[in-house]
C-alpha cells in the first residue's frame, strides 16, 4: 500500500509567533520552525499502515527551503522518500492556491491513501483536506481518531462532540487525523542517520505545470488588510486564599452579575 503523507512546517506554537509587517504573511524567517504537531500523528499512522500492509511512505510538503528540516524529521521517523515543492513564487499563497499546488504534486505520485493532519497550528483553517478532496475528486474521511484499511476500503471513526461517526469509502482516499489516533514515535538514532540518505525530490511550479504568475500573494483569494497585537488585558485582581478565597471569588462573580 503506497501512502503519501502531507507535512507542513509551522512556527512553533509554544513560542512567540507573528505576522510580517512587510506583507502581512506569517513570519517564518524569524520563527522557531517545527513540523506541525498534528502532522506527526499522520506520519505515525502512515508508518503503522506500511508496517501492516507493506508499501512505501512518501512525504509531501510545500514550503520554503527551510521546510527541508520538517522533511528530515518525517524521514527520520521512518518515511521512505520525500517530495518538496519549493518556489519563490509560492510566497504568500492562500489556501486554495496551496491546494492546487499540492493537488498537482499528488497527481504525479502513486498512492492508495493520502494522510494529513486535520489542521495546522499556524493558520488553523482546517480546510486543506477538503480542498484537496474537491480538487482531486477523491473521497475524504476527515477528523479520524481511528483508521482501518482492508479490502480496498478505508474505515474511520470521525471524532465528534461526545462520540464519533463511523465513515467508510473506497480507496484511493484522503484521511485527515486528530491527535487522538495514535502516539507518534520518536526518531531513533538509526532513523536519523538513515534519513540523511533517503531521496528528496525538489519540484518547482514549472515542474508541476503551474504558471508562477497565477500563484502567490498578489493573486491570493483573500487578503490580510491589517493586523495588530491584541490589546493587553488590564491587570486582574489576585488574592491568596486564607479561608476566604472562595467567598471573594463568589463576590467577584456576583459583581459581574454572573451569580
Amino acid at each position: 500500500m503506497d501512502i503519501v503523507v502531507l507535512v507542513k512546517q509551522v512556527p512553533d506554537s509554544g513560542s512567540e509567533r507573528s505576522l510580517d509587517p512587510a506583507d502581512n504573511t506569517v513570519a517564518r524567517g524569524s520563527a522557531d520552525n517545527v513540523v506541525n504537531e498534528i502532522d506527526e500523528y499522520a506520519i505515525e499512522e502512515a508508518l503503522l499502515l506500511k508496517e501492516a500492509h507493506g508499501g512505501e511512505v512518501t512525504v509531501l510538503t510545500v514550503g520554503p527551503e527551510s521546510a527541508a528540516d520538517a522533511i528530515r524529521k518525517a524521514l527520520s521517523m521512518g518515511a521512505d522518500k520525500a517530495v518538496h515543492v519549493v518556489d519563490g513564487a509560492i510566497h504568500g499563497a492562500c489556501a486554495p492556491q496551496t491546494s492546487a499546488i499540492l493537488a498537482a504534486a499528488l497527481q504525479q505520485l502513486s498512492f492508495d491513501i493520502v494522510l494529513c493532519g486535520a489542521e495546522s497550528t499556524d493558520g488553523q483553517l482546517a480546510v486543506m483536506p477538503a480542498l484537496l478532496a474537491e480538487r482531486l475528486n477523491l473521497p475524504l474521511l476527515s477528523g479520524a481518531r481511528k483508521l482501518t484499511v482492508e479490502g480496498g476500503m478505508a474505515r474511520v471513526e470521525r471524532q465528534t462532540d461526545g462520540g464519533y461517526w463511523a465513515l467508510e469509502a473506497p480507496l484511493p482516499a484522503i484521511v485527515s487525523t486528530w491527535d487522538t489516533i495514535n502516539e507518534p514515535r520518536y526518531p531513533s538514532f538509526k532513523g536519523i542517520m538513515a534519513a540523511k540518505k533517503k531521496p528528496v525530490t525538489k519540484l518547482s511550479l514549472a515542474d508541476l505545470g503551474i504558471d508562477p504568475a497565477t500563484v502567490g500573494l498578489a493573486m491570493a483569494t483573500s487578503q490580510v488588510l491589517e493586523f495588530a497585537g491584541r490589546p493587553p488585558k488590564g491587570a486582574g485582581v489576585k488574592v491568596t486564599d486564607e479561608g476566604d478565597g472562595a467567598s471573594k471569588l463568589v463576590d467577584f462573580l456576583a459583581g459581574q452579575k454572573i451569580v
Binding site: 509554544g14 497550528t121 474537491e134 461526545g162 462520540g163 483569494t221 488588510l225 489576585k238
Partner: protein
C-alpha cells in the same frame, strides 16, 4: 437588498437550530438580507423555520433528502454551490464547526471563491475580523475573488432577534457521484451529558493537571453544575487520563470564547491559552502564585483547589438557592 446565504446547523436533538446558526444569521445582516439554507433529511426544516424567522431570515431554502444524511459533508457543499450559481448571493455565511469549515473549503473550490474561517465579526464592506496565533493577534481580512465565504466562530457574535418573513422555497437535491463518496455508516454518542456544549456554553469550568486525578474531576463538575456551565480540561489533564479528550480546550482541542472561563489547577501554557484566551472574563484558581494563567485572569485565587472549589460551589448554590 442583496441576499446572503446562511447555512443552518440543525440541533442534533431535533429541536430547532444550534445557537451558532443564530450567530451566523446575526453576522450576515451586515452584508445583506439573510436567506437561511436548510440541508437535511425529509422534514428537518419544519422544526427550524420559526426560529429562523425570529432571527431575520427573509427566505428559507429547503433542501431535504434522505441521501443528505447518508454521506459526509459533500452533499451540503453541493447544494450551496447550486444556490450560489442560481441566486448570485452577495456572500455565504456558515457556522465555524469542523463540518462548517469543510463545507466552506469545498464551496470555495466549486465556486472559484475566496473564504475566511473563524471570523469574529463581519463589517458592511465585507471586511472580517479574525483572531490569530492563540488570540495574540487580531487580523482584518477581505476576500478578493468570487462570492465571499465566511465561517463564524462560535460565541463571538451575540445573536440578536430581527423579524424575517422566512418564506420557504424548496430546492431539489440532485447529488453527484462525488458527493456520495464517503458514507456515514453510524453516528455514535458515547458521552451523554446534560451540560451545555463546550463551544456554545456561556460559562466553562476547566480542570488541569492540578486536579490530580480522574475522581477529583467531580469537583470541577460540581462547580460547573452550580453555574450551569460546560466542563473542559487542559491537555495535561487529558493526557494524564483524568478526563476524556472530547473536552480538551486548547491548541489541539476546542477553542472556546465564553462569557466566563474558570481555569482550575491549570498553569496556563500557550497550548491551553490558545483555546480560551478570548473568553470575556477569566477566573483562575491555582496553588502556584507564579502560574502564567494569572497573567490572563481578571480574578485569581492563589490557593488549594481542593478547599477553594467546594467552598465556591457551596456558596454559589446557596446564592442561587
Amino acid at each position: 437588498m442583496a441576499e446572503v446565504l446562511v447555512l443552518v446547523e440543525l440541533n442534533p436533538t431535533g429541536e430547532g437550530v444550534r445557537k451558532t446558526t443564530l450567530e451566523a444569521l446575526t453576522a450576515a445582516r451586515a452584508l445583506g438580507e439573510p436567506a437561511a439554507v436548510v440541508v437535511g433529511g425529509p422534514g428537518s426544516a419544519a422544526a427550524a423555520t420559526a426560529q429562523l424567522a425570529e432571527y431575520g431570515a427573509a427566505k428559507v431554502y429547503v433542501a431535504e433528502s434522505e441521501e443528505v444524511e447518508q454521506f459526509l459533508v459533500a452533499p451540503k457543499a453541493e447544494v450551496l454551490a447550486q444556490l450560489v450559481s442560481d441566486k448570485q448571493p452577495a456572500a455565504v455565511v456558515i457556522p465555524s464547526s469542523p463540518e462548517g469549515k469543510e463545507i466552506a473549503g469545498r464551496l470555495a473550490i466549486k465556486t472559484g471563491s475566496g473564504f475566511l474561517t473563524d471570523v469574529t465579526e463581519i463589517a458592511g464592506d465585507g471586511t472580517a475580523t479574525q483572531v490569530a496565533f492563540a488570540g495574540a493577534t487580531i487580523v482584518h481580512s477581505k476576500v478578493t475573488v468570487g462570492t465571499p465565504i465566511y465561517t463564524v466562530r462560535g460565541n463571538s457574535v451575540t445573536p440578536e432577534p430581527a423579524p424575517g418573513a422566512a418564506e420557504e422555497e424548496q430546492v431539489a437535491v440532485q447529488l453527484s457521484d462525488a458527493a456520495r463518496a464517503t458514507r456515514v455508516v453510524d453516528r455514535v454518542v458515547e458521552q451523554k451529558s446534560s451540560r451545555p456544549e463546550l463551544t456554545e456554553a456561556s460559562i466553562v469550568v476547566s480542570g488541569g493537571r492540578g486536579v490530580a486525578s480522574a475522581e477529583n474531576f467531580s469537583l470541577i463538575e460540581g462547580l460547573a453544575d452550580s453555574l450551569g456551565a460546560a466542563v473542559g480540561a487542559s491537555r495535561a489533564a487529558v493526557d494524564s487520563g483524568y478526563y476524556p479528550h472530547t473536552f480538551q480546550v486548547g491548541q489541539t482541542g476546542k477553542t472556546v470564547s465564553p462569557q466566563l472561563y474558570i481555569a482550575v489547577g491549570i498553569s496556563g501554557a500557550i497550548q491551553h491559552r490558545a483555546g480560551m484566551q478570548t473568553s470575556k472574563t477569566i477566573v483562575a484558581v491555582n496553588k502556584d502564585p507564579e502560574a502564567p494563567i494569572f497573567e490572563l485572569a481578571d480574578f485569581g485565587v492563589v490557593g488549594d483547589l481542593n478547599t477553594v472549589v467546594p467552598q465556591a460551589t457551596e456558596a454559589i448554590t446557596a446564592r442561587r438557592g
